[in-house]
Amino acid sequence: MAATPAVAVNRLSKYFPHIELRRLLSGRPFSGRWALREVDLELRPGENLCILGPNGSGKTTLLKLVATLLIPTWGRIFVQGHDAVRRPLAVKRHLGFITCNEESFYGRLTGWQNLAFFAQLQDLNPESAIPPVARLLQLGPYLDQRFFSYSTGIKRRLDIARGLLHRPDILLLDEPTTNLDPISALEVRDFLVQLRDQGTTLIMVTHRLEEVARLGGRLAIMQDGVFQEVRPAPEESLEDLYRRLVAGGTRGAA
C-alpha cells in the first residue's frame, strides 16, 4: 500500500473577487482575478519542492491555501491525509509556515517571551519546546534581548524557530532569504539542507536560483496561477530553464 502523501493538491483553484461599492452600484458587481487555476501536486513524505515564478504568479497563494489561511474556490488540499478545509486544526499539527514577515512578532517582548507565547498556542510547554530549536538556530545569546533590537538575520532565525517549535513534518517557506545579507542567507540555506536531510518535507517559494540548486529535490515553475513545469531536476541550467518557461526565451536575453 502506498504511503499517504505529505501534501496532495487536486485541481486547486483560487479566485479573488474584488468587491467595490462603485461596481455594485453600476450593476457590474463581479470582477477579480484567478490566482490559481486547477493546480495538481503530490509530495511524498521527506520530498522537497522549490517553487519559482514571477511576482503575482500564485506561489504565495498556494502556500497560504495549504497553510489553511485561505479557502479554495474549488479543488481539494490534503495534508497527511487530512482535508485542509474541513480539518484545519489537524492539518496545522503537521505544518510549519515560515511567513518570512520578520515584523510578525511583539517588538517589546524578548525572543524567549515571543517564542513562549507561540509555543503555548501550539499546546507546548515552552521550557521543553524552545531550547532544542534555539540550539539548532544558535539563538541562545539573543533570547533575553527584546525583539526590536534584533538584526534582520536574527529576526528571520526567530521566525524559522517559531515555525519549528512543534516539530512539524512539513515546512512551508515563503522566500526565506529575502532581505538577508549573503552570509545570513547562506546560514539559512545550510539550515534548510539540515532539515531536508532529517526528513522534513519542504515547500519553498523562492526567487533565487542558487537556492533551488542548493536544496535540490523537485522544481516547479509557476506562471499565471498554473505550474508551467514540475520536474525532478533540471537537465539544463536553471537560468536557461527559467528564461525559457517564464519569459518565453526573450527576457534578459543578450
Binding site: 497553510a67 507561540f118 498556542l121 517559531r162
Partner: protein, 269 residues
C-alpha cells in the same frame, strides 16, 4: 489547555504593557485629572440643584464619576476585539497565530482579555480615587449587584464589538458602528446629565441603548445600595440585549471569517 492559551495571551499583553512603564502612570494621572475637573464642576453646580439628580442622592460629582467610569468600560467593550484584530493584521502576528493549533475565536477573544481586565481596574480606580481623594461615600454600595451589572454591561456591549471586528476583517478600517454608538451613548445614555433632562422623544431613543440601562443600574447599586431584586428591570433588559445580540454577533462573525478567507483579506491590512 484552552485556559493555558488564554493565559498566554494575558501574559503577552501584560508584558507589553509593563514594557511601557509610563502608560500606567499616564492612565492613572488621566483619570485623576478628569475627576478633579468634574469635582470642581460639581462644586459649581452644587448638590442636588437639579431635581433630576435627586434620585442619585449625593450630588453631581458621584453621579458623573460613575458615568465616566462606565463610559470608559463601554469603550473597551466596543473596541477591544476590533483593535486586537487590526493590530494583528497590521503587524502580521494574526497570520502567525492563525497557523498555530489555536482557533480564530480563541485568538480573537483571548486577545481582548487584558484590555477588559484593564478596563475593570480603571473602574476600581475611579471608585478608589473618588473615595480616598474626593470623599465620596461608597459604604452603601451593593457589591454583588454592582458586579452583576458590570458583567451584563460587558455582555450587552460585546456583541457590537464583535460585529465591529467582523467589519474590520472585511473592510479593514472605518467601522462606523462603534464610533456612532460610542458618541450616541455618551450623549444620550446619561454620562454627564440625567436622561430625564432630555426631550421626551430623545429619552425614548435613549431607552434603546443598553448603556442607558447599565449606567442607571450601576448608579442605583453604587450610590443607593439597591440590590438585584430592585434592579430587576435593568437586569432583564441587559440580559435580553445579551441573549439576542451575542449569538447573532457570533454567527455573523463566523460568517465574516469565512468570507475573509475566501476574499483573502484575513491577513491584509
Amino acid at each position: 489547555m484552552a485556559l493555558r492559551k488564554v493565559w498566554a495571551f494575558f501574559i503577552r499583553d501584560f508584558l507589553e504593557e509593563m514594557s511601557y512603564p509610563l502608560t500606567f502612570t499616564m492612565r492613572w494621572g488621566g483619570i485623576l485629572f478628569k475627576l478633579v475637573t468634574f469635582f470642581f464642576l460639581g462644586k459649581l453646580v452644587g448638590d442636588a440643584v437639579l431635581p433630576q439628580l435627586a434620585p442619585y442622592g449625593n450630588g453631581y460629582f458621584p453621579f458623573v464619576m460613575l458615568g465616566l467610569a462606565l463610559a470608559g468600560f463601554q469603550g473597551v467593550a466596543l473596541t477591544a476585539i476590533s483593535s486586537s484584530v487590526l493590530y494583528g493584521m497590521y503587524t502580521g502576528t494574526l497570520e502567525a497565530m492563525l497557523v498555530t493549533r489555536t482557533s480564530l475565536s480563541t485568538i480573537i477573544f483571548a486577545s481582548s482579555l487584558f484590555q477588559f481586565s484593564s478596563a475593570l481596574l480603571e473602574i476600581l480606580l475611579y471608585l478608589g480615587f473618588s473615595f480616598f481623594c474626593f470623599g465620596v461615600s461608597l459604604g452603601q454600595a451593593n457589591l454583588p449587584a454592582t458586579a452583576v451589572l458590570l458583567v451584563l454591561a460587558l455582555l450587552s456591549h460585546l456583541p457590537i464589538g464583535i460585529l465591529s471586528a467582523g467589519f474590520i476583517l472585511i473592510f479593514k478600517r472605518g467601522d462606523p458602528v462603534t464610533l456612532i454608538l460610542g458618541h450616541v451613548s455618551a450623549l444620550l445614555g446619561g454620562v454627564y446629565f440625567p436622561v430625564q433632562v432630555l426631550p421626551p422623544w430623545v429619552q425614548a431613543v435613549s431607552q434603546l441603548l443598553p448603556f442607558t440601562h447599565a449606567l442607571e443600574g450601576l448608579r442605583q447599586a453604587v450610590l443607593n445600595g439597591r440590590g438585584l431584586g430592585e434592579l430587576s428591570h435593568q437586569v432583564a433588559i441587559l440580559s435580553a440585549f445579551a441573549a439576542v445580540l451575542l449569538p447573532l454577533s457570533l454567527a455573523l462573525f463566523a460568517w465574516t471569517v469565512r468570507q475573509a478567507k475566501r476574499l483573502g483579506t484575513l491577513s491584509q491590512y
